[in-house]
Amino acid sequence: MSFALDGVGLTHANGFTALSDITLRANKGERIALIGPSGAGKTSLLSVLGTALAPTAGVAEILDFGQNLRLTAGLKALRPRIGTIHQAPPIPGRQRVVTAVLAGKLGQWPAWKSLASLLYPLDVAGARATLERLDLADKLFARCDQLSGGQLQRVGIARVLYQQAELILADEPVSALDPALALATARQLAADAEARGATLVASLHAVDLALNCFPRIVGIKAGRIAFDLPAGEVSEALLHDLYASEGQTLPTLANEPRFTTLAAANDPATRAACC
């Protein structure tokens, strides 16, 4: 088992309830897409899984670790095993790409190595290999403030790939990429998780991408789980119901069914190509 949430609720200090009664389990190696309208609670759910926020109700067990206990020593051991891809890449503009990627291992490296790496990057080969998979090897020594938004987002992904986490949490990981690149990048992410047997949970705004790349889809609405189904079983009616508040069109990659349609999403060939 990778994680188990049992009746988890999250109420912020200001009284706003972001999550209520979430029960969700995932086995090791599963790949799950979280979909739902903006403000539904996808990011909050990822924050609970990423140990950024402690649930205010229920029990969360993450990588066999009872996270509700908030044991600092335990958290310290747990956190390097979780990799989070943030929607806005949290990377200082003046940092070089290579350093930003290597920072993924800060939780695992001994302190001397991390410190020395600030002076001279100690694993240039590893950083470059990771960047290559995201088609960014040429930016290895560039400074992050010289990158486009899409390139920077992929550096953020590279960092988590380099971290080799057992549980990868991705919050809108490809929102700044053009459709073709978004697909390729999502594929890379999924392939990496699959190859290493890591669990992947990604919140995605583009429904088509979710359906294409993830075997399991969890719909979130108003802080609750609306449905939890294999991709093949997610019907258009369910989706329209989920996104009722956002109008008639379903959110897709740039709202353009360019590389795939909903019908094609269930096509086995596409799905094979995807994941």
Binding site: K76, P90, P92, G93, R94
Partner: protein, 519 residues
């Protein structure tokens, strides 16, 4: 698929290595010149001496006669600072307007104004004060004028830079639609910059209060003169009373500054007039404070423009030409330059390290207090204490600079770190990185340009202060200047002043270049 070629070497490594070596090659002799010997701090006889002196701080002197002096000196200091800053503003606003590239279609810098500003800033207050003693005789007028000129130069430079740093688009749009440059700045840039301009001006006023200590040296009165005497006589009780008064003043100035910032942040009330009670009371208090200051100090500006005054200035200035350029003297001045540079560099570096360490802790209260205390004690006072702690010489000067600058930088660093984006560090913490490393990898790079800029700006100020510290025995150019001026060796003093000017210009240039490089 191609095989992975060998991983490339870090192309920046060579540059970093040579940069580090270069820094070492430059810094090592500087530290030597500053007689950097931290061991002296823990020398038992030194500890005894300083302990004895500090023990004398308690109880602070409370005699009625002394308190009367103190009260008068406090008012005088306030008046000097206020009048000096008012004069500085009168000088700075037009000069800043002329010097700034803001609101110009072509970003041409006005070289004439800029070099005038450099001269105004580059010559320490003290030298100006000595010049004005000729015209106004003994008393605070010389101090006011000296502050006015030096701070006028500083304010004008900073005003110009602040106006350049805000978004130029509104002003450009206004100019394109036919507005003149002044109006374009008033309508397009001032609303963005006003808060920073105002708070910098108030900050400078705070500095002016501290600068009055320097003025005390030429008989300009105020708390500075009193402090100078108490410290020279090593009268701990008096020094403690004066210091306490001083800190109260500085904290009060801080409070006023904070109040003004908040006032500037308050959104305007929903009515046609943008002026509320705060603006009105401020507009009433400010001119009356300035007028009261000039009145209290009994300054007669008419005297500045009489033929007699012009004659004595002319004569005085003529005495400085030609400067003594004999090789013997140049060698001594050169040594003084080197020592002054060493004091400023070592002082600033020590302060940067200590300031950063003090800026880091999350629980701010005790550290803010410590930083404010360090900051509110002027360098010259620190120099007296450090001279006891490590003996006379450049290291005492460097330490004194470091102590005061730590207070300034620590506070600025803490603000910069607070304002630096929190997300990168937070994300690293989530990925399991220890707090220290998350800071180094996540937070510090975001704040670094600002930290570096602050440090370098401070260095520019410290080079001027280092030149003055010699007056209390820290060596360097200051000691040479004090000695030669006392003996009316104006040709030699002239060389020293020129050296100070060149040194401060060189430091300004180096600092600007470093800021550019390290951005």
């Amino acid at each position: 698929m191609l095989l992975n070629p060998a991983p490339p070497r870090d192309p920046a490594a060579r540059g970093r290595l040579s940069g580090a070596l270069l820094a070492l090659v430059i810094l090592w002799p500087l530290f030597r010149a500053a007689e950097f010997k931290p061991g002296a701090l823990f020398d038992s006889s030194n500890l005894k001496v300083i302990g004895h002196f500090l023990a004398g701080f308690l109880p602070p002197e409370r005699g009625a006669e002394f308190l009367a002096y103190l009260g008068k000196a406090t008012l005088e200091t306030l008046a000097i600072a206020t009048a000096g800053l008012a004069l500085a503003c009168v000088i700075a606003v037009p000069l800043g307007y002329l010097a700034t590239a803001a609101g110009r279609e072509q970003p041409t810098l006005n070289p004439l104004t800029r070099s005038l500003l450099t001269v105004l800033r580059g010559i320490p207050e003290l030298v100006w004060a000595l010049l004005f003693v000729r015209i106004f005789g003994l008393g605070p007028a010389a101090g006011v004028l000296a502050l006015g000129l030096t701070y006028g130069g500083m304010l004008a430079k900073v005003y110009a830079e602040i106006l350049e740093s805000v978004d130029p688009a509104p002003a450009h749009a206004l100019r394109r639609s036919g507005a003149g440059r002044l109006l374009a700045i008033l309508y397009g840039l001032l609303p963005q910059a006003s808060k920073e301009l105002a708070s910098y001006t108030v900050y400078r006023w705070e500095c002016a209060i501290r600068a009055s200590v320097v003025m005390g040296f030429v008989g300009a009165g105020g708390l500075g003169q009193l402090m100078d005497q108490a410290m020279k006589m090593l009268n701990g009780g008096e020094a403690a009373s004066i210091l306490l008064t001083f800190m109260l003043l500085v904290f009060a100035a801080d409070g006023v500054s904070g109040w003004l910032r908040r006032a500037l942040d308050t959104p305007p009330a929903a009515r046609a007039s943008p002026f509320g009670w705060r603006s009105i009371s401020f507009l009433l208090v400010l001119p009356s404070a300035v007028i009261a200051s000039f009145h209290w100090l009994e300054i007669d500006f008419g005297e500045l423009f009489t033929a007699g005054a012009a004659h004595s200035i002319g004569e005085f200035v003529a005495g400085f030409f030609p400067p003594d350029l004999s090789s013997d003297w140049l060698a001594r001045v050169g040594l003084g330059i080197w020592e002054t540079l060493a004091i400023s560099v070592v002082g600033t570096l020590l302060a940067a390290v200590a300031g950063l360490l003090l800026a880091l802790p999350k629980w701010r209260a005790p550290f803010s207090f410590l930083l404010n205390t360090l900051r509110s004690v002027p360098e010259l006072v620190w120099a007296t204490i450090t001279a006891l702690a490590v003996g006379l010489g450049p290291f005492a000067g460097a330490l004194a600079l470091a102590l005061h600058t730590t207070g300034v930088l620590g506070r600025l660093y803490a603000e910069a770190l607070d304002n630096a984006p929190a997300a990168p560090g937070h994300a690293l913490r989530l990925a399991g990185a220890p707090a220290g490393l998350s800071f180094l990898y996540g937070t510090l790079p975001g704040a670094a340009p600002q930290l570096i800029a602050y440090t370098l700006y401070r260095w520019e100020m410290n080079i001027r202060m280092a030149a003055i510290l010699g007056f209390v025995g820290a060596g360097g150019l200051g000691q040479l200047l004090y000695f030669e001026l006392s003996l009316f060796h104006h040709a030699q003093a002239s060389t020293v002043i020129i050296a100070m000017l060149i040194l401060s210009i060189a430091v300004d240039q180096t600092s600007a270049w470093l800021r550019q490089r390290l951005r």
